[in-house]
Symmetry: C2
Subunit: 238 residues, 2 copies
């Protein structure tokens, strides 16, 4: 009898954007695990509960409480402890399903648990819809066509990195725009791509906001779950 560790993407927010596979695995899991904030809240758990149409799963849980902090030592200690608890559950034959917003391996914390467990235990990863694809669907705007190149950056990149990428790639998504919003707007202006940019917050969930004219955003910061989508105005169809 051997258990396993399964990272499952629950998608960007709309509970209907969960996959059939994720739905079944969450339903059948012995243990549900997820990242929670200091208040014990987890957006991934909310999405999963809505998708399964129940208020709170009755399954055993391993919440991984992660305080807001930039100290990697504290975070590493928390991941070590969580990996230990998950390993214990696997060893007694339990299936542990770890809920991830969006896709498990795209900018998520699941990677830190997977790297601690994948050499000693059976692991599986089930992809989810990432906010990149949710954004282009919400905008009804092709992300990439034919020979176009596409890059994903984040608000954590430097001004120069943002500018180089905007100059060198046809389509660019800049995730986690939040506190870096003004720097990103500056880079869009410097690369002459302000008119080619769209901005989205909280796609497919409460508080969704889409700005097709990003100039109106000047001077304000935004939430963590916000991104810019930049595509060429004249697109090569040959």
């Amino acid at each position: 009898m051997t258990g396993q560790f399964i990272g499952v993407g629950v998608g960007p927010g709309d509970p209907e954007l969960i996959t059939l596979k994720a739905y079944t695995l969450i339903q059948q899991a012995d243990v549900i695990s997820y990242i929670a904030n200091a208040q014990g809240e987890s957006q991934a758990k909310v999405i999963a509960a809505q998708a399964l149409n129940k208020a709170a799963p009755k399954q055993e849980e391993i919440p991984v409480v992660m305080p807001m902090c930039d100290d990697r030592n504290i975070a590493n200690g928390i991941y070590n402890k969580a990996a230990g608890a998950i390993a214990e559950a696997i060893q007694v034959g339990k299936t542990v399903v770890f809920l991830c917003e969006g896709d498990p391996l795209f900018f998520g914390s699941f990677a830190y648990l997977l790297e601690r467990l994948q050499d000693q235990h059976p692991c599986q990863v089930v992809p989810g819809i990432s906010s990149v694809h949710a954004a282009s669907s919400a905008l009804q705007l092709p992300l990439t066509m034919l020979k176009e190149s596409f890059a994903v950056m984040s608000g954590r990149h430097s001004d120069q990195q943002l500018l180089d990428t905007l100059n060198n790639h046809d389509s660019v998504v800049i995730m986690k725009a939040g506190r870096s919003r003004q720097r990103i707007l500056n880079a869009l202006k410097a690369s002459n791509r302000l008119a080619e940019a769209n901005y989205l917050e909280y796609i497919g969930r409460e508080g969704e906001y889409i700005a097709r004219n990003v100039q109106q955003l000047q001077g304000e910061a935004g939430p963590y779950f916000s991104l810019f989508v930049v595509t060429k105005q004249e697109r090569d169809r040959s």
Copy 2:
């Protein structure tokens, strides 16, 4: 009574990777549309039929038969005709669901129909799991972590574009590797990233093949549905 045009991603191949939303929309559609080859075959239709667990949908169909050719004039004529047929169905109140492999707005033909219909008719897009996310899940390899940058190229890009991107971005996916496989291997060697590359064909469907040592691929071409995933060996966790 007004119909609508809905592009629906059916995911990368595994029928369980379809979303709840796609499942419901396909089931309730008045008309199913899709790109078919000269033999009338459609991989997206096969995935949808497997997901819905039936041999062939009984719904009305608008197949868009697209021969293998590089002549955009021929393709444009076919898209014009298909958009006309879809518009007619919408005008009599029908919901037309267009099936797309992977995600509808990520390198797909759906974009050409959407641009012909979205100004005059109600349209909707439902994102799907792209092969990019399916690949990192199959490899159990994080695509992006923290401050990493990520770029997607295709075998249609030039040697210099591939090399620049491999030199400038931490994680790189090169899609549609097929006929360009040797050129891509050359660019991986020139950027000193051969050891950081993985190669995948037909992820999650019949004929799936994963090569973690890409040097063994030298000299041969591959199928259209193949890609390289390149990530840094030493990853910054700070």
